[in-house]
């Protein structure tokens, strides 16, 4: 193609081409796919502990993907053993212990004593809002087995008997060495074991040399390190997601903390227009009322897990005092009306979606 003779037109075309070129360059710079070191991110998901477990590792320079995959296979084995040991119903150690508990004093295996002792401590610090002795209640409600969910509330007489038996049962021993006889008690560590498991998983990965990781066991997650040159970015699920909002909030974690949420949407059924969920109040035997979700951020996963349940059961009036009693200063709750109350220590870290009523509390 020959350029036109007119010098003005030639100048115009030259400028136009330059201008369009620059425009496209800037647009491309703004919109190009971000350079991401995805080749250093290793992700694995599998079904374990009755939920979806997802692990992300960010490799250091020189760490190989193959070695990371084999560390993850080791972790799968570790969590499978852990799950079997702590399952309340089944053929593991806790289930065997449960089967004898009504009649006799049972010694607790040494490997299980630390979590027994921790559960005893957190149960007493939360004034019984968190209680691992509630297995019979969980069973009556049918929340113990995802394939056997009920769709109606249990028989009130049976439920009242179970609540009365629990009220009379001995507390867990603070040293975690032996327990029983405890008729009416069936131990269910479901409100603490996933948090403890993510702690152990992070410890395992660290001992294998992986300092940057997220372990997420069905929404109960623990972070360590960072994702390369940025912090790990964590979403918090909206308790009543709609078309536009699946997440309620996001926060960044530079590691070494657990971020655990308990919500009335995780396991529930609806009957007669009422929602019956799995977060049972040990004192009434009924699903706790007044909140939709509680998120707790603290260093230890077992504590975060138990605390998220305890705060949920404590409800809108008492969650703050129970948090203090448990030593939790970073937490937020979503009330039954969909409003957010967040502690002053956590508020600056969390970015909520628009349109929420957010109240910061001391």
């Amino acid at each position: 193609m020959r350029l036109p003779e007119s010098p003005h037109l030639r100048l115009f075309l030259r400028r136009l081409i330059l201008g369009l070129g620059l425009a496209l360059l800037f647009a491309w710079l703004a919109l190009r796919p971000r350079p991401d070191n995805d080749d250093r991110l290793v992700v694995r998901e599998w079904l374990a502990m009755g939920t979806l477990v997802s692990v992300s590792l960010y490799l250091d320079e020189g760490q190989s993907r193959a070695a990371a995959e084999s560390a993850l296979t080791g972790l799968e084995g570790l969590l499978a053993d852990y799950e079997r040991r702590w399952r309340a119903w089944g053929d593991g150690e806790l289930a065997a212990l449960n089967a004898r508990l009504a009649q006799e004093r049972v010694s607790i295996p040494a490997t299980m004593q630390p979590l027994f002792a921790r559960a005893a401590e957190l149960s007493s610090a939360s004034a019984g809002r968190f209680d691992v002795r509630i297995g019979r209640l969980v069973e009556l409600w049918g929340f113990h087995d995802e394939t056997q969910f009920r769709s109606t509330p249990p028989d009130p007489v049976a439920l009242n008997q179970a609540v009365a038996a629990l009220a009379k049962a001995p507390p867990l021993p603070p040293d975690g060495h032996a327990y029983g006889p405890a008729p009416g008690v069936w131990l269910d560590f479901g409100a603490i074991a996933k948090g403890d498991a993510v702690d152990r998983a992070i410890d395992h990965l660290r001992s294998e040399g992986y300092a940057n990781a997220i372990v997420n066991a069905g929404g109960n997650l623990r972070t360590c390190g960072r994702r390369g040159n940025r912090a790990w970015r964590i979403g918090i699920r909206h308790p009543r997601p709609d078309d536009r909002h699946r997440l309620l909030a996001t926060l960044e974690s530079t590691g070494d903390e657990a971020i655990i949420t308990s919500g009335d949407y995780e396991r529930y059924f609806e009957f007669d227009g009422h929602r019956y969920h799995h977060l049972l109040d040990p004192h009434s035997g009924q699903p706790a009322q007044g909140l939709q979700a509680v998120t707790v951020v603290t260093q230890n996963g077992a504590l975060a897990d138990a605390a998220s349940t305890a705060l949920f059961v404590a409800g809108p009036q008492h969650w703050r005092e129970v948090a203090r009693a448990l030593g939790i200063d970073q937490a937020f709750v979503v009330t039954a009306e969909g409003d957010v109350e967040i502690t002053a220590a956590l508020a600056p870290r969390v970015t909520f979606i628009d349109g929420l009523h957010i109240k910061t509390v001391p």
Binding site: L11, L16, L24, A27, R237, T261, Y265
Partner: protein, 120 residues
């Protein structure tokens, strides 16, 4: 500045606008998702077009619906439909599962604009 300069600047500005309009996506939007059955990857699907996908799980088929860049479970042979109640997923890093049927989906997106994990 001649009239030609004005035209050239105008065209350049229009080109920027058109490029944005063409390529812009909402923050944190995922571009595709992975389906797993009992933890084993069974396929990756783009989040474009509107269509349903049937995934054969342990109990039977789970139906996934893709619509306007989002995906959700719309039916599954489980009792309590926790998967269906999970609703639409659109953020990279988000996931949902039908545990009884052993079917899970996880969304993949631009890593700089996604969350790395979701607490629920």
């Amino acid at each position: 500045m001649t009239r030609a300069d004005v035209i050239a600047i105008g065209l350049a500005a229009a080109a920027v606008g058109a490029t944005y309009a063409h390529f812009w996506q909402p923050a944190m939007a995922a571009t595709q998702f992975e389906v797993r059955i009992a933890g084993q990857p069974s396929g990756r699907y783009a989040l474009d077009g509107n269509r349903d996908i049937l995934v054969e799980g342990r109990l039977g088929p789970s139906r996934l619906r893709i619509e306007n860049g989002r995906v959700r479970f719309i039916a599954s042979p489980c009792r309590n439909k926790v998967c269906v109640h999970s609703g639409w997923l659109s953020h990279g890093g988000d996931a949902a599962a039908c545990l009884p049927n052993r079917v899970s989906i996880s969304l993949l997106g631009d890593a700089e604009a996604s969350v790395d994990a979701v607490s629920f």
